[in-house]
Symmetry: C2
Subunit: 405 residues, 2 copies
């Protein structure tokens, strides 16, 4: 069996931690597995490199940033290979390019288009543990490219797919929880979660896994284990809903998880002249300013004026304020109201597709507890609410209890 | 004109220094030159990486060390390219591999066998300043390799050779002196020095330039400027003896320089049974222990027992002591005496070839000042003496005065 391990920056932050990982990988190899391991840069190494570039300019060249940022992972692969060899295991480090990871797109946010796994297979066949630099590949002109922050998860899943192996992501959390344990102390760790549910949780702000990695896993059927301990396997397996159903140990719940995203602000645009062009203008400005618009809803429509609301991350506040000033200057009666005191609470579950009772149950809880919400949006397997910031944790707890998470 | 600049670790230690270099390179480019720049890792970055590896093991794998150490230069090329672009100059960074630097040999001490300069030429033709990672290349299996410490000098000279350009080495000394100014305050900076003389000075411990770089310059006739200031050109030009003779501004002296090498220990092996095998045994052991044996001399020969002496760097002391113990254990009457309190003083000059009076003048000075020496060795253009450590500076000063350096 080929197993692709992945260790993030915290896990490889010191040479002592790297040595511990080497020992663990050795045991996995001794158990008869073919081992590939993908690693990130040590600790905060990438942030330190970005800081250096920003000492020179606010807007460093993207191609050069990719080269700069790719060096952190190259240091980790060397050190881990040195550690493995010191323990007596044959090992070899490969850059993204050497591992055959071909990418396309803009520098700093490339995506993997192809993996030529022949080199890795050759090294595995000769008994080596193969250590691959995460977060990077090579583009059509031979330049090193990076996959965006968190891209090492994607590297690992893509390699597991190309090698038809399993993927194990070791991180600083011990698995996927139905709800953040810091919010709800009775939170249960999930032994299994489906790709679709995990993707919703990832996008909704649970932050454990890079959503693109989960998407890739789903697309190519790569089983992904997420956990912390280097010993006992007590984390979470991300797999297909069919595999989960086959597994009789687990009853499928309607709701798998609740997530809270406090990095949310809501904007109400009121009394804007009703005209598709005007709405487009706002979102075009937002896009150009790099604002990541999330939930959009139309609140109120009259014949001549309308209102609508949208949410975006708190980090986009400054850009948002500039747009607000321009809009209010242009339209006499229009208000552009930014509310940073909100939180997004979402429930996620495959069961939502077929279970129409969930939404009504949710509204019943809100009504019984006299909790109002500002906005709602739904997808096939999730429902998200914008509530006052102070109510976020309470709402999540109520949902967690009601849906037995 | 194509000019290849080289900046060492001290010159690129901070982003502020990198920005200053970028401004200078911009002026050189604006003056109508094609500019290639070779850089080292920032400050002590390479040492920090080596320290990390040594936290894991005393003997890290060489291939992995090459990858690890090569990342420092890759960071500098990115940052310098970002700085150049910020100033409005088109620039591109290239790793050793991308710059076409092919190497062969053992990891950690590869040598350049070929440079495919097509990629650099293409970028120069499109008006770019080309920023190349020093100290590294790529071997026949596609692995990154390094050229040994100080290898960036070699990278720069090799590129200048391949591009038929000039080479300018910017370092933390402002040129080549006839004698270390810290030893002799009246030391004169040389406007010119020949490849051969510079090579002797480099090997003899002057330490300004990597000897292999000078050798390469001599072999391919690359003019090398060595200096400090980013403005006025007041450093030293290393070139052929013919070019120096053509230049009427300078009278060729018999002696060009004096060097002091305090990193020297002398070993006297006394009363060893006279037998080529026994001598070979010692040097074989020394070679296997990685000891860099320098001067060797036979002191005294009788029919059955002989004595000889050799020198090596102080850093080899521990390995040397082990060999001494073995030799003394094996041969009953043999003494293996290590003397760390010595210094090597050397005089270098093309004039030595044809000027037989130099050696006698040297001995006269020593005699007049009552200075004894332990060992002497000569090459075509140099004479080296081993003297007591406390006398080293005095001897160098006497020579400097006598030969008007």
């Amino acid at each position: 069996m080929i197993i692709v391990h992945k260790y993030g920056g915290t896990s490889v932050a010191t040479t002592e931690k790297i040595m511990n990982i080497a020992k663990y990988l050795g045991r996995v190899k001794d158990a008869g597995n073919d081992v590939v391991v993908v690693v990130s840069a040590m600790g905060k190494a990438t942030d330190a490199l970005i800081k250096l570039a920003h000492e020179i300019t606010e807007n460093p060249d993207s191609r050069e940033m990719d080269r700069l940022m790719s060096t952190g992972e190259q240091q980790t692969i060397s050190l881990l290979s040195i550690a493995l060899k010191t323990l007596g295991y044959d090992a070899i480090s490969l850059t993204g390019a050497q591992a055959g990871i071909k990418t396309i797109g803009h520098y700093m946010k490339n995506r993997i288009v192809d993996i030529d796994a022949e080199s890795i297979k050759k090294h595995l066949d000769s008994g080596k543990i193969v250590v691959v630099a995460g977060f990077q590949g090579v583009n059509e002109v031979g330049d090193v490219t990076t996959l965006g922050r968190g891209g090492s998860d994607t590297s690992a899943v893509a390699l597991a797919s190309a090698l038809k192996g399993k993927c194990e992501i070791y991180t600083d959390v011990d698995g996927i929880y139905s709800i953040d344990p810091r919010v709800y102390s009775d939170a249960k760790k999930l032994p299994f979660i489906s790709y679709d549910e995990m993707m919703e949780l990832a996008y909704l702000g649970a932050g454990v896994m890079e959503p693109r990695a989960v998407e890739l896993g789903g697309k190519y059927g790569v089983e992904i284990y997420v956990g912390k301990s280097l010993g006992e396997k007590n984390g979470t397996i991300i797999t297909s809903i069919e595999k989960i159903k086959e597994n009789k140990k687990m009853e499928q719940k309607v709701i798998t998880g609740v997530s809270i995203n406090e990095n949310t602000i809501m904007v109400n645009v009121e009394e804007i002249p009703t005209n598709a062009q005007n709405v487009y203008e706002i979102f075009e400005k937002a896009e150009k300013s790099g604002i990541n618009v999330d939930m959009i809803s139309q609140n109120d429509v009259s014949s001549h004026h309308g209102s609508f609301a949208f949410t975006c991350p708190k980090t986009d506040m400054a850009a948002l304020e500039k747009i607000g000033e321009k809009i209010e200057a242009k339209y006499e009666n229009t208000s552009f109201i930014i509310n940073p005191y909100v939180t997004k609470v979402s429930i996620v579950g495959i069961g939502l597709i077929s279970n129409v009772g969930v939404a009504s149950k949710m509204f019943k809880i809100l009504a019984e507890n006299d909790i109002s919400f500002h906005q709602i949006s739904t997808s096939e397997i999730s429902i998200s609410l914008i509530v006052d910031e102070v109510m976020g944790k309470r709402v999540a707890e109520l949902f967690a209890k009601e849906f037995d998470l």
